[in-house]
Symmetry: D2
Subunit: 338 residues, 4 copies
């Protein structure tokens, strides 16, 4: 790390900083500049992140140098991680496509959707059984019954099941039915939950929180990796900005940025990322062009009657068109899809 001193910092301020750096087991390197003095700190600084150096008298700022994540980084593993979960593969040349309703509502709905999305090329089925909802008065999901219906749809179609788990105490139950455990955006920093899914060997789809930086997303993944589960997919699903014409702002530059820094595969959610069904196809195609390793898309037999997220959900025909465009774009960037 680099410690920048104030222009008017004195000799005693500098001595105090040097002493504190040495106390932390690191080596200080003082450079006297024309207008400022800086102290370059040599050694693994990650343990010193919250060490209060920035509060010492005379210190103007502290600039970290090392990325704060380790196991997730390309420096630790240079080859991309490929994750296989039943019919789903994410991280290799084939782009995985996870499609299905926001919420599981009935056997007919989930099996019908599974058949339709499989026919269009999806490689996994999504569907929420435990639903975290902003309002306590909204539909909260079918819970275990929903998991059973998902399993029935898998039995029928062979599609792997991706479903959300919202609390550590549910992990065992959900893992009995799911091929991939989804950790939702609201829970990206629910560390108990991250540790709980980290103690399984079930692949995890970790969604970025709407105010989380990409570094924080990688550190959240690091909790899962550090607990022993190396099968983590990162998911960009949009961030909160001043824009109101979309539900969230979908920053696709996240995809190549993450690929340069982590071996973990990156999935994009153009449904939540836009909030409007008529923007999903374009953004799915853009995600593929940007290098996404997977897509997760909301599809429902009849979006206008969906019990949640209807406005951003595709019907079967629209999903078919989306897949057709994505297949062509995937080929253009030497990938396959579906």
């Amino acid at each position: 790390m680099i410690i920048v001193m104030h222009a008017d910092a004195g000799r005693s301020d500098l001595d105090r900083v040097v002493a504190r750096v040495e106390e932390l087991g690191l080596r200080p390197h003082v450079i006297v500049g024309t207008e400022r003095t800086v102290v370059a700190v040599v050694g693994d600084e990650r343990g010193a992140v919250s060490s209060g150096l920035e509060t010492l008298p005379g210190v103007a700022s502290v600039l970290p140098i090392l990325a704060p994540y380790k196991v997730a980084s390309r420096e630790v593993q240079s080859e991309p991680t490929v994750i296989r979960a039943g019919s789903l593969q994410v991280g290799g040349p084939a782009i995985g496509v996870i499609a299905g309703p926001c919420s599981v509502e009935s056997l007919e709905q989930i099996v019908g959707t599974a058949r339709a999305v499989k026919a269009a090329g999806a490689t996994a089925l999504r569907g929420g059984a435990f639903k975290p909802r902003t309002s306590p008065y909204s539909f909260q999901g079918m819970k275990e019954k929903g998991l059973e219906l998902l399993a029935a749809a898998r039995a029928e179609t062979g599609l792997a099941v991706v479903t959300e788990v919202v609390a550590p105490e549910d992990v065992t139950l959900v893992a009995r039915y799911a091929d991939v455990l989804q950790v939702g955006a609201r829970n990206m920093q629910n560390y108990r939950l991250l540790e709980a899914v980290g103690r399984t060997q079930v692949p995890v789809l970790l969604k970025r929180g709407p105010a989380a930086t990409v570094e924080e997303l990688l550190l959240a993944a690091e909790y899962i990796l550090d607990a022993g589960n190396r099968r983590v997919m990162l998911c960009e699903r949009g961030i909160r900005t001043f824009e109101t014409h979309t539900r969230f702002t979908l920053p696709l530059a996240t995809v190549p940025w993450l690929h340069a820094r982590t071996h973990l595969p990156v999935v994009v959610d153009p449904s939540h990322g836009t909030g409007h069904a008529n923007l999903v196809e374009s953004m799915a195609a853009a995600s593929v062009a940007a290098g996404a390793d997977g897509l997760i898309v909301e599809v429902h037999p009849d979006p206008k009657t969906a019990s949640s997220d209807g406005g951003q959900t595709l019907d079967f025909a629209a999903f078919g068109r989306m897949m057709e465009v994505c297949r062509r774009v995937a080929a253009a960037v030497d990938r396959t899809i579906g």
Copy 2:
């Protein structure tokens, strides 16, 4: 709610919307405008929020009218809620001041801090025993041992204890020691946790998530209220914006906005809200002037050695100065403090 049709929507589109509104148990009211047709919907629309109306053909947008929260609203209870928890009172003319370290580190540290902040006028002690941390490699708190030390500091000084609970399974344990359960910003939408603290009768300090709207904050409070616990304090602690010179951006207009809509008291955290010790005093004074019912401030005997958040933590002398200024500003707005 108001359903706005597209300029080119046809008669059959309109009929379909009207039929769907009636299916939802609401009454449609069609108004044909010069350039657009709108359908005003009469009845309690809150159950219809996710009903997919916006996906019907011909619908341009759907505008909700009723606030989505109920129990928290001034329309349900016009008088302010006053919360008493041992030595702490929040919501009346006296402004509560919760002060103490980010993390409990030792008996000496926490008792020393409790004595010092009490002497300066604080009415409650804060201190983290269970610490949610961005990185798995950071200090995670003393856990139950930390709770015991907080209880010791209360025994010594009489100050009520405010401490964070991070998971539903810890609620019973933490409630055994705490006078106020803090739900942190990262957990504002951890609904299991909200329900769990809602099933106790222990006062709750609910922090706003850094990307949460004020409506979402009120809906999170609604989870606690709906579960049966009416003793909720809301806490503004800053939001994530493009600004980088402060850790978060502290939007104090939240205080009068919330006061106009909810009877729940509002506490401000100028420590996290700025991230820099030298900005805390000004923003604490500004919070009091804006009408805050309480302050929560990080104080440590020696911030530069604090195990977390050192950069935004006041030492005893700085806290004393802050209290002195806040006392004068409180008097100027007909409140008392300390």
Copy 3:
């Protein structure tokens, strides 16, 4: 527009609102709901936007219904506007590619770049002669000398010239050399400048301001259209958000959203939109997949010696690779490029 009354608004409040609406030449339509009363207002509300209705006693909120822009809207012109400016065409099936350095630096630099980008498929040359710079101490451009060099490069290669104009008094001068007048992001709401370029018949590339909503972008375009110049290209170049790993956040959903609402073509700038050369190729490809009608990209013979924006600038080889990928993606979405 829809005027929503407070739950406790009285009869006299309602009467006052109705009277004020009628004064504005609009027709009020009162709907008494279960919990609220709303007044639907019929007539062209655009003149009443700032009429202070929201300040009347008893009014909770005022919701506009009509989009505030007119000439730019699809409702006024349903076919896409195709803009031709010398070698550049934007808005039809062929995607225009504007490439070149941030700043014009020398004859050799600009002619060399023009030749190289033309060989790779660019259809216009960009280059700044008048440079708006954040700091007064940064290089401010070669001014008229730079325009002459751009004209020389056009004479040499046949490429249309796109260059920025920063003040109304420069419009005549810049229009003498430029095929397209660029209005930069900082000047999106410099109305005198918009009016000045609106009085020419030279095509305009209007960049979105980093905090401007898409509605504000369309209203800025409306200034140009309203002044008589119908040849306006909109340019998405990224917005300011909490993200710091990219210079701006590039929200590609803007592209299909704008296409649904305006007949004006949409260009994307993946250079400013990311700020990092190694992210440009992916985001250029994503822009094409999202439906962009044009790209504007920074290219320099030797980015590391560029007098501005070096970090986000491609060299010739990288631009060639970007064009190759974009050509394939364009074909996948039934477009051509270059």
Copy 4:
């Protein structure tokens, strides 16, 4: 500045960086760390900001150390700048209060408002004659006629006049009538305008752009200072964030942050900063408590008929109440007001 090399950068990468730094007239200082090598650069780096160092092979990032502004900084002038413009004083112990309508509408309106705000303690009159408006269809101001009315109100009351100038070609005209030239938020980076007001000796009120960082605000001020005008007041008027319950988010920590870095006085605009009349009093009081040197507030005899910004405008009674509260809070922080 500090140049951080990639973990896998080679010896030749490092040599190239060192050579480039020397070319720029700066001294490189290589520090070989356990995991990374960094190059600390000694010398005034401000000229090298855009030198493309970050694009050299092997460079991971470039961290500036010096603040990019000079004349505005406390390091150049430690005592606060006090600005006097007729009846208005900003920067000393007395807090200046600039009040008046968004737009000048009539002699009666502006003189009536001037009298009322003066009686309540305002020390200057605001009023827009040239109005930059988002839509070309909105009222654009009375122009020179409006300036004459402002001068008449000054003649009547003795209040200094603060009014906006929107283009360089208007500076001479506006300066004939105004005591303070306001540069609006949309024009914060209109450099021609900054230079033009910088060539006068008329005090300038420079408003922060809604997406501008505080550093960019200081650099915009630097344009004015560098052109020869040292009488610049900075104005915080809110930034654009994801919040929609206020028009902008008013980040008051800007006030103490600026005070620590610049000698220029800081004015706050709680009208634009909130967008709602009922939030203005609280935020004005909070601004004073935060250390603001001035306030600028919209006041109109009858806000509901105002030709612009009615929703955020106070009537005379509300302004009187606001001043009363601010007077008491000012005394609490050892300032005077009015």
